[in-house]
Amino acid sequence: MEIKRWIPALFLAICVVQLAVPAKMIVDREITLSRGEVFRFKTAPVDPYDFFRGRYVRLQLEASSVSGTDTNRFEFRDRAYAIIEEGPDGFARFSSLELERPGQGAYLRVRVRYHDGSRIHLELPFDRYYMEESLAPEAERAYRQHSRRSAADAFIAVRVLDGRGVLEELYIGGKPVLEYLADESP
């Protein structure tokens, strides 16, 4: 009987916890988007037989691996910090990988996927761009076209803050994807 009187209060406490989880997801990312440094990552050449999975565009990035790091220090699924540097072409890449959080500079919290020889391949916190399902096939076609070796001008803009990276926009032909699709539609 005593417990029954507490049920409404306990339920209220549970609601607060349930709200806290999505709220934290939103707040963390909004802070990163508003205060984070912008980096552009070029998309990698796409295998023409890749098929569109569901209602998002699957992204493949050129800078999804890092070299020049001792591969023996890292194992599958290890958490690590990838140091970001901007290349002469204005696009971001990873210069090195650390196990400890760096004290300064731009870095991204990543996971190790595997290494082959001297390169370590990374699992990045942005691998997809969600699209409205009727636009997705067109976006996928445009993305593939602009990611081929002959016309590689698709890239993503990512905001990075304290190791967290949030995908801001997908650019195709130099324009945000929705704007590109709107301009290209008859």
Partner: protein
Amino acid sequence: MKSSHLKWLYRELPDLISRGILPEESASRLREHYGPVGDEDSRRRLALLIFGVFGAALIGTGILLLVAHNWDELSRPTRAAVAIGLLLFAQALTGWVVWRQPESIVLREAVSTFLFTAVGTCIALISQTYNIPGDLDRFLLVWMLLMLPVILLLRVRIPAAFYLGGITWWSFAAEDGWRPFFWLLVALLLPLLVKPSAGRTTRFLNGVLLWTAAPALALSGFAMIPVLETPWIVYLVTLLAALYAVGLQTLSGEAYRSPFVVVGLSGVALCSLFLTFEGLWQWQYREYNLESAAIALSVFGLALTVFALWTGYRMVRRGEWAPALVCVSPLVAGTAYLLVGTATGIVGALVFNIYFFALGLLMLIGGLREGALSSANVGLLMLTALFVARFFDVDVSLLVRGFAFIGIGLAFLFMNSRLLSRKKEA
């Protein structure tokens, strides 16, 4: 007892009393024991419950589908606000029931089911809005853990069934080292089952939960394959035998009504049938690993084995040989596995061929002795399945196989007709 049977009994009581067959006092005690026949109110409540929960689940799913449409027209903050708003609405609805109608099982089940889908939808929508990569295991775990306190607080079974489905799915998506924590997540639900059921609606809900739990627990055995490597066979058979033992120990009424008996027995029988094939054991022989056998025979596996064997001992004392043989399947699997390590792959297949044949035969004989058509047929079906399985393995002429099939078919017909005529005479 079924309400139709109860109605019949209550109809007979006055006649039995008047003819002096049953004293008045015994009749009153019978009425007290079985309670009233399911009256119109409780049937209506059950119907309301079913429709209410379906409606809530459909609404929640419909909202999820709308979410999946990707509302590109809305700005990012607006989409985030919609996600939070949906969750707040579901919480407010549930809170109103908790505050105003806490005794209504129907409302509690319906709103908590809606809240269940709202929590998942909210997290999914935020993931879409911010293009967060899909870590399925993390998403499922967070979703289930956020709902668990609501399930325990409101004592709701339908969301508990969804929870079981969710954590079972999680056990397949999680990294190997985390998978055994599935059992901890299951154990967290135990307080829900402690209170004995009362009333038709609660019994129905408990039934839904138990019929979800049994297959979920059985399936989790497969999720442990990467954790245990080759000894997973021993673990799986042990798990299924333990489920069967739980069913036997808690049985009240007919065996087919117990989800643990049905799932456990089917699971042991199907696993055993697969283990009669030599190919699987040759793979075991090649990949044999005694070190990970130690993991399989860990405290948890040992506890399951002891429980199953103890139940088997009780069945032997009751003269129920077929159930006893199901309960000792962990020993059979363990023995086969150890023999494979010392000899060759075919030994494992041989052990299980003998075991499966013995199990089928005992079920057939037990069914014939007790006049139980279903047990006898299951036994004969098992023997037929073994024969068909060997049909693909063994090199025997088509003529022999043809005669054998005809023989088994005739045996089926003969046995069923004898049992049916015996029932009619009784």
